[in-house]
């Protein structure tokens, strides 16, 4: 199935990528001259690899200027041609056959599959320039350092951070949130202070705050959700006005319901009370344009493995002034300026928060993943998922006995569809779908408070990404109907 519908929508700024084929004819360095340091869309089938270049220095010198960066981010976020069949060729794992059927991978909210570019870059790092960063004064260490720092710059461009120095490499969203709780939280949250969360948070945005609240004698306040999975705005206002709120921490997109929360509006309101906001963007940055300067969030956390990158690497973004005031999270090598027997001095952010040897290969792999999703265009990704979600709501909604949780209007949510069917338990459903080669998630999705709110112990969740097709949604529908027949619903 070839999709050309976005080609017509290309505007004048997208001439660099009128078609993947045209983009592939532009040589790598030449394309970079046009817009320095940008992810250059390549032909989706790897033909000739670009030469091993280390544009780190270039990025440092040319991309920090706001105008260039804004231009870069606009390019990453804009609409470009999109062809799902081409995209599928980039993911080797999609050739797998499960139980005699082609793998239909519908669990990207848990982790996405990896394109060949990312897999190859990891191998290339270990084969060709593996070395520790920031220390060696020899060739391959300089290459590794440049690639590592270039990855940081790419991520800054992706989310439009003011500077790569606002980008901290961590293990994932969970570590990013724990870092904020332990470093910023222990400094700024005290006895009787409040932290606002929502009932749709992932455990990783609940438990770190429970630990902090217990230690500091602070309390947690939850924004409730409506029956169709939206936040109760009034709860938020009341909590904010109750005073002594030190932080608002909330998910951008629910990993269970797909609800896209109006974080920008909430941030405005919180800032009016002088209260900083952390956004859990694990389910948004991979799927839609996210601009931290536009949101004006104080912290933003996301994971690499949910956006085509390797596992074990993720990002904490925070405003420069906040990072400068925060004490270190972990002590050790790499994060220090000077160490004496009884006291030490720290490096400036981001290095202050990157103690020890970090996940260098992971960071470089994530840089490649950012190139990949940037090449597809975040607006395109969002639209592709939106179409699939609408299609899925339409098809799944007609299956006998099904109940879909969250927003009824698929246009107000991302590509996450949680459901239950009759008295079929989610785990039984996942096993039945697996028999048809369909991979979905089942269980509480690390959101037990939300499950309680929905009044269920578990749900089955199908989630889509760049490589999913309407055909796969059809297969899901048929397999659900088969499950219904087996369970005699």
């Amino acid at each position: 199935m070839s999709r050309q519908r976005w080609a017509a929508a290309s505007n004048s700024t997208s001439q660099k990528a009128t078609s993947p084929a045209a983009a592939a004819t532009a040589s790598y360095p030449k394309a970079r001259n046009k817009l320095p340091g940008l992810a250059v869309p390549k032909n989706t089938t790897p033909t000739t690899k670009p030469p091993l270049t280390f544009p780190g220095q270039l990025a440092q010198s040319t991309v920090r200027g706001y105008a260039t960066q804004k231009q870069a981010t606009a390019y990453i976020h804009e609409k470009k041609p999109f062809d799902v069949e081409r995209v599928r060729h980039d993911f080797p794992i999609l050739k797998r056959v499960i139980n005699g059927k082609p793998l239909a991978y519908l669990d990207s909210a848990a982790t996405t599959q990896k394109p060949r570019d990312v897999i190859d870059e990891l191998t290339r790092f270990y084969n060709e320039y593996n070395a520790n960063v920031h220390r060696g004064v020899y060739k391959i260490s300089e290459e590794a350092t440049a690639a590592y720092e270039e990855a940081r710059a790419k991520i800054a461009r992706l989310i439009n951070a003011n500077s790569p120095n606002e980008i901290i490499f961590v293990r994932g969203t969970t570590e990013a949130i724990n870092l904020v709780a332990q470093s910023w939280g222990r400094t700024n949250v005290g006895l009787g202070d409040g932290i606002i969360l929502t009932e749709m948070e992932h455990h990783s945005n609940i438990v770190p705050w429970q630990l902090l609240a217990k230690e500091r004698g602070a309390h947690l306040k939850y924004v409730g959700i409506t029956d169709d999975g939206h936040l109760v705005h009034e709860d938020f206002r009341q909590h904010l006005e109750s005073g002594s709120i030190k932080l608002v921490t909330m998910t951008h997109v629910s990993n269970v319901l797909g609800t896209i929360n109006p974080v920008r509006e909430y941030i405005r309101e919180a800032h009016k009370q002088g209260c900083p906001v952390l956004v859990d963007a694990a389910q948004s940055v991979p799927h839609m344009p996210v601009d931290v300067q536009d949101l004006d969030c104080d912290f933003l956390a996301f994971s690499g493995h949910k956006m085509c990158g390797p596992t074990g690497i993720g990002i904490l973004y925070a405003k420069k002034s906040i990072l400068q005031a925060m004490p270190p999270y972990h002590g050790g090598g790499e994060m220090i300026r000077e160490v004496h027997l009884y006291e030490s001095a720290w490096k400036d952010p981001p290095y202050k928060f990157e103690a020890g040897t970090t996940n260098i290969a992971g960071a470089i792999g994530l840089g490649k993943a950012v190139d990949y999703v940037s090449g597809l265009g975040l607006r395109n990704i969002q639209e592709h998922e939106q179409e699939l979600t609408e299609y899925a709501h339409d098809r799944l909604g007609k299956v006998k006995g099904i109940r879909i949780y969250g927003p009824e209007n698929p246009r107000t949510k991302s590509g996450v569809i949680s459901f239950n069917m009759g008295d079929v338990h989610a785990h039984d459903m996942a096993t039945l779908l697996d028999e048809d080669g369909i991979a979905v998630r089942s269980g509480h999705h690390c959101a037990q408070p939300l499950m309680e709110r929905l009044g269920v112990s578990s749900t089955t969740r199908a989630s889509v990404y760049v490589y999913n097709t309407e055909d796969e949604i059809d297969r899901l529908t048929q397999s659900l109907e088969r499950a219904g027949r087996i369970f005699k619903l």
Partner: protein, 136 residues
């Protein structure tokens, strides 16, 4: 592909035998599978010869965990505690029939784990029992 969800499994899931609770159980235990949220509780009443006079289970979760718990109660009824102790994984799996993946095996064997935990607590546990329980 044939499904693990046979008529028998679904029948035990929908119409569980021996579901409920006993007023004076000598043996009882409860466990859950944190991964799935399956919960199974087992209660056994013994007569003076240490034979299982009555047995009930309670719980919630997937068809595999609940059906296997119900099937297991039928298996232990009338057996001596010593015979109950000898029930193996294979015995439970043959009741269920079909091929289970490693993750779903945990669902199938949860009730056996609960049963054995109760039995071992009753007769006094030894080191080897801990090893056996952790293998379930």
């Amino acid at each position: 592909m044939s499904s693990i969800y046979s008529e028998i499994i679904l029948d035990y899931y929908r119409y569980p035998r021996n579901k409920g609770s006993l007023p004076h159980p000598q043996i009882q235990a409860r466990d859950s599978n944190p991964l799935c949220g399956d919960i199974v509780e087992m209660q056994l009443e013994l007569d003076e010869k240490n034979t299982v006079k009555d047995v009930k289970f309670n719980g919630q979760g997937c068809a595999i965990s609940q059906a296997s718990a119900s099937m297991l109660t039928e298996l232990v009824k009338g057996k001596t505690v010593d015979d109950v102790r000898k029930i193996s994984k294979e015995d439970v799996l043959s009741l269920i029939g079909g091929q289970l993946t490693a993750v779903r095996l945990k669902c199938a064997l949860l009730s056996l784990k609960v049963l054995k935990t109760g039995v071992y607590n009753y007769i006094g546990s030894t080191e080897s029992t801990n090893e056996e329980l952790s293998s379930l």
